[in-house]
């Protein structure tokens, strides 16, 4: 493990050029957590409460079950077609033309989620921190920092994700006890009083967020083993689900399902009512939102990297850096499209578009895996291999 760690970080072995980017299990977990958590914790509770009423917290928990097949699917695909990202996996499994079409669908779905993340972050900042600033300025800043992170590469984004993960985790540890005086468990019951419909609807919306760990397929090549990819996806999903669910339960227990559904960002609103331990700040929600913003920054950086990587592989390019700025610019433009009001954003994007996009992504990965399982692709030739298959250049035959 130590040797592997050392190798990953350059190992004091000063190479001419950077070592191959590799992310560890903990970095993968943090990265996976950053994929959906920052937006989900802010916007999901209102939608889930509106859809699920008292059963929302059960629906959110039920949606966590989607994580298991998604994690297993990622691991299985990486096992079938190892050391490749999703675009290359698709072209290898499905053939050049069909594979590119399927990969393009995946990239398109990713871009929808990325645009939603940028827009949702901008709306949140505008509402809570900068009410007079135009949203396009905030979106531009978010997209720009994402471009910078993506420019530096996946390793850098993964390590920043670890830092954001730890910071927000510490913040939650401090804040969650503040909810307890307002918490009343009776507000969580009765359950299933309206039949299974609300439960399933809230579960479907929640699954659209928690299932976004499937995006880790884009960086499958950077994990050392398929098992690490699978474990990262499962752990990230579990961490996201646990904290998101806990916050939702506390919010519903504090404000009731109707109160939660009335707010755009219920967790923040409830947090405003928390009397913090030290009378230093009147309102701690800005600090909390700052922490979430930092995590959202990492999320956008990762999405920009994934999109640039996907587009570069679709174009046949090895280096994804030239695609980073155009992708970030396109993302910024796409984030400005759509409803101009926050309720509209919640109604259309959060309830419909995000679950749909996530479903498409999972379906795409499933198709690639199924094809690879039915018709196992030939392993990719080593670098420098001869076309006639007689052996690699520079190697003994």
């Amino acid at each position: 493990v130590r040797a592997a760690r050392a190798e990953r970080a350059g190992g004091g072995v000063p190479g001419r050029g950077q070592p191959r980017p590799q992310i560890s299990l903990s970095e993968g977990t943090a990265l996976g957590t950053c994929l959906a958590w920052p937006v989900a914790v802010l916007y999901l509770p209102a939608v889930v409460a509106a859809e699920g009423r008292e059963d929302g917290w059960l629906g959110m928990l039920l949606a966590g079950l989607v994580l298991i097949p998604v994690g297993l699917l990622l691991g299985a695909l990486a096992h079938r077609v190892p050391r490749l990202g999703l675009v290359d996996q698709a072209t290898l499994a499905l053939g050049k033309a069909l594979g590119r079409v399927v990969a393009a669908v995946f990239v398109l779905g990713t871009s929808v989620l990325a645009a939603y993340a940028v827009r949702a972050g901008a709306e949140m900042v505008r509402l809570l921190m900068l009410p007079r600033t135009p949203p396009w300025v905030i979106s531009l800043v978010i997209a720009l920092q994402g471009a910078v992170g993506a420019w530096f590469g996946l390793e850098v984004v993964a390590r920043a994700a670890v830092m954001a993960f730890l910071s927000v985790g510490a913040l939650l540890l401090v804040l969650i006890p503040g909810f307890i005086p307002m918490f009343d468990a009776r507000r969580l019951f009765p359950v299933l009083s309206y039949g299974p419909g609300p439960l399933l609807r809230s579960a479907a919306v929640s699954a659209g967020f928690w299932g976004q760990v499937v995006l880790l397929a884009m960086s499958a090549e950077s994990f050392r083993t398929p098992a690490e990819l699978r474990a990262s996806a499962l752990r990230a999903g579990a961490a996201s689900l646990a904290t998101g669910w806990l916050l939702f339960v506390l919010a519903q227990g504090s404000a009731g399902w109707y109160g939660v559904s009335e707010f755009a960002m219920p967790n923040v609103e409830v947090m405003r009512a928390v009397r913090f331990y030290l009378p230093l700040f009147e309102r701690v929600d800005v600090l909390v939102v700052t922490g979430w913003t930092a995590m959202g920054f990492v999320q956008v950086a990762w999405l920009v990297w994934a999109l640039a990587r996907g587009v570069s592989r679709l174009a046949g390019a090895v280096d994804s850096r030239p695609f980073v700025v155009p992708v970030a610019a396109a993302l910024w433009g796409a984030s400005l499209v759509g409803p101009e009001d926050l309720p509209g954003l919640l109604l259309r994007w959060t309830r419909v578009l995000v679950p749909l996009a996530t479903g498409v992504l999972v379906l795409t990965v499933a198709v690639v895996w199924l094809t690879a399982a039915v018709r196992p692709p030939a392993p990719p030739a080593p670098r420098g291999a001869r076309r006639d298959g007689t052996g690699a250049v520079g190697q003994d035959r």
Partner: protein, 556 residues
């Protein structure tokens, strides 16, 4: 392949002239195959001549008939059955110790050898045993001769020999060892590196007394002949790391007399990085500790600093003092330093953001007091913060450049005149002075002058962005700065090591300062061949209070 007589003759001549037994230099032009090391189109032979006249002529032409050049003819006894042979002693009066030259060389070769009936053997493979100089070297190339003479050594040419004897007779004055100016400690040793590289080598040897400590000498630049020593402990420092350091140093072509900072800029992974990627230290104990961790130390002549590579953030934020105080206090000091780092980077920006955009965060009473203090101040918070930050940096720079007595006067002027007068004139709010003061004090808590200076630019950027976009903008700027520093590497090691990638075992001497008996492992990314400082933890084991006999436990 057709026979080409001209090329054949050229190859033959080349082979002939580059052989060991070169012919004597004649009056004609020097052979074209010899190295051209002199500018202005003049050819200089690569190896010394057999005839003394030729050697004297060449060395006079190379050193430009310098007034301190001393060339003295003498005689040495030849081999068995041969008579005395002419010899030429050459040294620079300004660099060599004349007494040592006269005593060690001239007397030895002229008198003692004759009295003893022996001879100065100069046959191939033999050593000139009768010279008493501390360090002798047989050299063959002019490059070595020139570097030796320019460094204060004395060279002895013997008629008929194509080699010369280089004797260490350096006698120029150097500064004595003093306490480090920037890295002083309360309880640690008071020795610092000096300008003489030989003294610095001895300081390192005194700390690391192992035959595995290797020094690799490099001479940089044809004009200044800057001597650089690369030190490492064989088996601890990775061979790839050592090779990379050497290859980066060999690529340097410099013609100016530069110090260790220039060398650091040449070999740094990211030369324009605002944070130090090559750590400069003036403490031998710190350099020695780096050697035993598997790092490489670079000593540069005429510079009282050693360069340590790879350098990571942990090294920058730790102070040598930590190892000379109680581990608990050292841990607390390190926490304070980390806190200081955060405060000095963000305090002005937070102040600007809170007062400009997020006043609702502050308690009402505090906010009212703040507004009352800002009553009548014509400048916005952002301008206040930028101006006062610039004033502080100017005062710091002026205080450093001035003599100590004047520096104190500048402090008084800065504190009283500018601060007090500005507040009385309602140009600056008193809260702003408090913020600037806290920023300055926390900046000085970070060890190392370079790190202190490195904080200036990001602090200014954070403040500007906070003035435009509030805490959100500041968070974006901090994230971008985080990306940038996470992308930095020093000789292959991540700059954030061991914080990111998180290596818990290596935090023992970076975030915490575990007791020395508990620091079993060396840094995992460096000394991979020998990962352990010690075989197992060795906590102190005082005798049991109930045991009367030493070594026995239990009831008496």
């Amino acid at each position: 392949m057709p026979f080409r007589p001209v090329q054949f003759l050229r190859r033959l001549a080349k082979r002939h002239f580059t052989a060991r037994n070169l012919p004597d230099a004649g009056e004609g032009p020097p052979p074209a195959d010899r190295l051209r090391v002199e500018a202005e189109g003049e050819y200089v032979p690569s190896v010394i001549y057999r005839r003394l006249e030729d050697n004297e002529r060449w060395i006079r032409s190379l050193l430009g008939d310098s007034s301190d050049l001393v060339l003295r003819r003498t005689q040495v006894l030849g081999g068995k059955g041969t008579g005395p042979r002419e010899a030429l002693v050459c040294y620079l009066e300004a660099m060599a110790d004349p007494a040592a030259v006269a005593d060690v060389i001239i007397r030895a070769v002229s008198y003692e050898a004759g009295m003893l009936g022996s001879h100065v053997r100069s046959a191939p493979g033999a050593e000139p045993l009768l010279l008493h100089a501390g360090s002798l070297r047989l050299v063959r190339e002019w490059r070595e001769v020139l570097h030796g003479v320019l460094s204060g050594d004395t060279v002895l040419f013997v008629e008929g020999e194509d080699r010369a004897v280089l004797c260490a007779t350096r006698g120029f004055e150097t500064r004595s060892i003093e306490e480090p100016a920037l890295e002083s400690t309360l309880k640690g040793p008071r020795e610092g590196f000096v300008e003489s590289i030989s003294v610095n080598l001895s300081l390192l040897r005194r700390w690391v007394k192992t035959p595995r400590l290797c020094f690799h000498r490099l001479i940089l630049g044809d004009l200044v002949n800057l001597r650089v020593e690369v030190a490492y402990v064989k088996g601890l420092a990775g061979p790839e790391l050592v090779e990379e350091v050497l290859s980066r140093l060999r690529r340097i072509k410099l013609e100016d007399p530069l110090g260790s900072n220039a060398v650091a800029e040449f070999i740094s992974d990211t030369p324009l990085a605002p944070v130090p990627l090559v750590l400069a230290t003036e403490r031998p104990d710190r350099a020695a500790a780096a050697l035993t961790e598997g790092r490489v130390v670079i000593l540069v002549d005429n510079t009282p600093y050693a360069l340590i590579v790879p350098c990571d953030m942990g090294m920058v934020l730790t102070s040598p003092e930590d190892h000379y105080v109680n581990s608990l206090f050292a841990f607390l000091n390190r926490m304070l330093r980390l806190l200081s780092l955060v405060i000095t980077l963000t305090a002005p920006g937070l102040y600007v953001a809170l007062t400009t955009f997020h006043a609702e965060m502050l308690p009402t009473a505090f906010f009212m007091r703040l507004q009352a203090a800002r009553e009548g101040v014509p400048l916005p918070s952002l301008a206040e913060a930028v101006i006062m930050g610039a004033v502080f940096e100017i005062l710091r720079e002026a205080g450093l450049r001035m003599p100590r007595q004047v520096g104190q006067a500048i402090s008084v002027v800065g504190a009283l005149v500018i601060g007090d007068a500005a507040v009385r004139a309602a140009i600056i709010s008193p809260i702003m002075l408090v913020v600037v003061g806290i920023t300055a004090i926390t900046a000085f808590a970070i060890p190392g002058y370079v790190a202190l200076v490195a904080m200036w630019l990001p602090r200014l950027l954070f403040t500007l962005v906070a003035g435009i976009l509030g805490i959100f903008g500041m968070a974006a700027a901090v994230t971008v700065g985080l990306y940038y520093t996470l992308s930095l590497r020093s000789f292959g090691v991540s700059y954030w090591y061991p914080y990111l990638p998180l290596t818990l075992s290596d935090l023992k001497d970076l975030v915490f300062r575990a007791p020395h008996w508990a620091m079993v492992r060396r840094p995992s990314q460096l000394a991979r061949g020998e990962p352990f400082h010690m075989p197992y933890p060795q906590p102190p084991r005082p005798p049991h209070p109930l045991s009367r006999r030493p070594g026995r436990r239990g009831r008496p």
